[in-house]
Symmetry: C2
Subunit: 308 residues, 2 copies
């Protein structure tokens, strides 16, 4: 059985980043309908999902209710989002598999992802999270030791370290489970933890979900890594007049274009880096495309395919 790890970007979960129940439910149902193709093709499937807007929503709730309910640290909020989105994806996928008369269980496992406390990201927090803040609120947070940055004129936001994932804590269980079930794991990039004298501890950080998916894929010896995002292809000169979709490329070519600076930080760059990591660590094939093109991409008709 071939194993594929599928990373779902924000657009596969909610249209326009809106996080109401109805929007999430509808968008996730649509995405799960598309994922049935993969399960039909007898793949063992692990689903990883992003969760930026959902963590943001919980941070806002925690902030606004802080005089009544003590706010939770970010690792706990990540765990809450693994519950929230894991449940919605699991149930929708179960329902779509049932409609397609495919008998395969779906299971969501909480996933801690171990990072290094020495990761340079902890000295240079870079990932904006949570609500926009006034100057006064921003100053107060900064005095508490947090990093706050102005975000494109829209106000201030807390910025959080985005360290490299080092190890997926639950990897042995996930590797076993994928033989008989569709597994939902490492949601939101995983709950960030570090090891201190062999004890696990939560830490305020956000792990990029594509990097987590890539590490998870290589750790369970997956054959394919499929990253679903808002565009059907990886492009050269993206957004310019001469933009050009890439259909087939080798790892070496991907490395070359990466060095040339074709891929945006926080967008296509981590996807390409994750592709290269996976292909260097046992992976056979990477597909980057949009959820609507999954079926065609599996037939080799759409999407960007990267191989060694």
């Amino acid at each position: 059985m071939k194993i594929a790890v599928v990373a779902l970007g924000g657009n596969a979960l909610s249209s326009s980043g809106e996080v109401s129940y109805n929007n999430l439910h509808k968008t996730i149902q649509h995405t799960c309908k598309l994922l049935v193709t993969l399960v039909k093709k007898k793949y063992g499937v692990v689903i990883v999902f992003g969760s930026g807007p959902q963590v943001g929503a919980l941070l806002i709730q925690n902030q606004l209710a802080k005089h009544s309910v003590a706010p939770m640290p970010l690792d706990v909020l990540d765990a809450e989002v693994q519950g929230e989105l894991g449940y919605l994806i699991e149930q929708s996928l179960q329902n779509e598999l049932q409609k397609a008369k495919i008998r395969k269980p779906v299971i969501s496992v909480l996933t801690q992802v171990i990072v290094s406390k020495k990761d340079p990201a902890f000295k240079h927090p870079s990932k904006p999270v949570g609500p926009f803040l006034t100057k006064t609120e921003a100053d107060r947070l900064q005095k508490q030791g947090y990093t706050v940055k102005e975000d494109a004129g829209r106000g201030y936001r807390k910025v959080i370290p985005s360290p490299q994932p080092v190890k997926i804590d639950e990897v042995s269980i996930i590797r076993d489970l994928v033989k008989k079930a569709v597994v939902i794991a490492a949601g939101g990039g995983g709950i960030p933890v570090y090891e201190d004298k062999r004890q696990l501890k939560g830490i305020e950080a956000v792990i990029d979900k594509d990097r987590a998916a890539s590490l998870l894929a290589s750790s369970i010896k997956a054959d394919e890594l499929i990253m679903l995002t808002s565009v059907p292809y990886v492009y050269l000169n993206y957004g310019r007049k001469n933009q050009q979709p890439l259909k087939q490329l080798t790892r070496k070519e991907a490395e070359h274009y990466l060095r040339e600076g074709h891929f945006l930080e926080g967008s296509m760059k981590p996807k390409i880096e994750s592709s290269i990591y996976f292909l260097k660590h046992g992976g056979k094939k990477v597909i980057i495309t949009s959820p609507n093109k999954v079926k065609e991409a599996l037939l080799g008709k759409e999407g960007t395919v990267i191989r060694n």
Copy 2:
């Protein structure tokens, strides 16, 4: 290998029901240290936990932030709590097992519990949840079709149906997992769902965690059901001058005392009913005691033991 399902009451998770991170973390660490005994004794262990105060905290956050973030329905909040507490219990137990040099993985799985839409509980909601409301807020909710009740002079609260669990959705996976890992499942009594034309749908309800634990225990053919609560024994005439701890009793005796009305609704009554259900459906032994007495209870020196 003997299999035990352990249901953790509120006092095993937070002292005095306070839901701050520090309180939860400290209390859960203490409880997990006590649970190591069970794993040492080579039991296969499934942990179920209650979550009343935590769901209440999320409801308050959702309410207070509703003008900024669309509130989530109760089934989604239950899923969030499975993430939150599942993570905290998993990590603490991993750390305690590590200290005790026991090599056994711990895994948390999201769990949907199927209820019947025809359950009489849906006509008679009985479980108070969420924040206390003013008369005006209560009236507004009632107009929206919710049931609201006055709660012992402290204000009004929304009341939610507490239906019987009918089926644990992820039972086959949990049964497999417990052979090699400590499994955390059915947190908060499970995410309540019902089947409509073979499709799963979330529903506003709260499932009693002892009933869910009992159903899960019989479904995975567990040998023992261990319910940890705030008292070391089940008592006759509880709270009165002539209160009397019960140390050993048979299922028939438990049924007899239940009929005599010794056990409080919402407290010991569901535990006794869950015990009887489990013993009638393949279970061999039930222990009801407090977390601090687990070790002695496993040696038969403390706690209430019920057998067929």
